[in-house]
Symmetry: C2
DNA sequence: CGCACACTGTGTGCGCCATACACAGACCAT
DNA sequence: ATGGTCTGTGTATGGCGCACACAGTGTGCG
């Protein structure tokens, strides 16, 4: 039925068994491809991932990868699928707020471990097992609330978007982690030079009163939690109206 | 001082005058490059933008572009700078909520007009004039609230993230707009086949009760406003505690 | 007034990329 | 055992970003 329609990579990721077939046995598995590609991306960003580099990492030729993956985009799919750990198991004794917070922090940890994830061009919504498990986990955080399934989806997506967005701000997408702080400093310096108080009073006001801590643009755990709570307060108001 | 340090593209965008110099006069301006590149991206997505294609569009050779732009990344900068209209002028008589809503909708309109914006790999925070004008406009939406400049920045970024994130969900990054609805239908169909109620009860519940309207995954204006209000409710609670 | 030289757009070329295609060998169902 | 199918490989193509050398241009200075 839909097996034929499902892209080959998704079939592989879901472990749909290929009947025993003639021909040589495959020399490796897509998970090997994922591991090699993730290693390259962790070291040098997503730009360091090419078919030939991944193949060389595995000790095979470039074209051999195409026996497992239809195109480069499929490589991204398997990378994303394997880059994340299993989603956290949420304590049902906790309230929705603690649960979704734990989920958001786990998600953020995944993004911090593999910053290249934010560079992956996404054009199709997720259908792979672990990605769906994360979706499910995020939805279940709202068990016990009066929110409808649609509302839960919206709320989960809102948190998802928040985590991605803030991670994007933090990450700076630098390959060399040392350069991040320096880049932040250079940025605020240039911003101060360009955003003059007469034309950009709001920006200038932000710069006048620098943040409490050391680095300017970095987004530490406290700020993350603070912004997340703002989002959760919004969801709380949704819950209130749904309950009332 | 910092003129030397500022990247050439930013100097051009800010209109920093080059003294009258020897040599032939430039045959065009970066804004011409932006216009040509945006035309290509609107038609065929960001992937359709290459140095050679842009140059051909202008009737010049590929390498001529490098007299105006140091690298491909700079091309993205000028594209982003010119893709957005001037930010909306916000009616000071309105409340912060109406103002930031107008700002968010204008931002969303820009993203809808040029969906490729979401594909642009961002590695540096914005420093170009119009981008800063949008920042400033978003910050000024909170004039009159008790929020500190830092809080206003956070709030504006939160809305910014929300708009980007939801636009990402909607856009589907398809070059052919006709295929969007079809892709959505195919997605829910596959999701229903893979997310079985036993293993993914939350996802299944979402699918059981399809959204009120016609298309499933599309994100219409109502949903956008609804989610935005959730975010704004969260900001409201920040304002309440700041005022109290 | 003329000339030196900085700056223009051009042509060529390099290395890397994704991937199409033909092929020789490996292996299972029969 | 053998046919057919699947494996990994080698080769080739078209596109990309961009480095570099070059010939012509026009301005500021002598």
């Amino acid at each position: 039925m839909n097996e034929d329609e499902l892209p080959r990579v998704l079939q592989q990721l879901w472990g749909i068994e290929g009947r025993s077939r003639p021909g040589p046995k495959p020399a490796f598995h897509i998970s090997d491809i994922a591991r090699a590609a993730i290693k390259l991306a962790d070291a040098g960003g997503l730009g360091a991932v090419s078919m030939s580099k991944v193949a060389a990492e595995l000790g095979f030729t470039t074209m051999s990868l195409y026996r497992y993956v239809d195109a480069k985009d499929d490589l991204y799919v398997v990378m994303l699928e394997h880059a994340f750990d299993v989603p956290p198991t949420l304590d049902p004794a906790l309230g929705w707020r603690d649960r979704i917070t734990a989920w958001a922090e786990a998600f953020r940890d995944g993004l911090r471990r593999h910053p290249w994830i934010l560079q992956v061009p996404v054009q199709d919504p997720p259908l792979s097992p672990n990605q769906l498990a994360w979706m499910e986990s995020g939805l279940e955080a709202f068990d016990g609330t009066p929110l409808t399934p649609q509302d839960r989806l919206s709320a989960m997506l809102l948190v998802n978007i928040y985590v991605r967005g803030t991670a994007q701000l933090t990450a700076n997408m630098r390959t060399e982690p040392d350069a991040v702080q320096e880049a932040d400093q250079l940025y605020t310096q240039r911003l101060a030079a360009l955003a003059t108080p007469d034309r950009f009073p709001g920006i200038a006001a932000t710069l006048e009163q620098p943040p409490d801590e050391g680095y300017a643009g970095d987004f530490d755990a406290g700020e993350f939690a603070f912004g997340l709570n703002t989002v959760l307060d919004g969801i709380q108001s949704r819950i209130d109206t749904a309950a009332g």
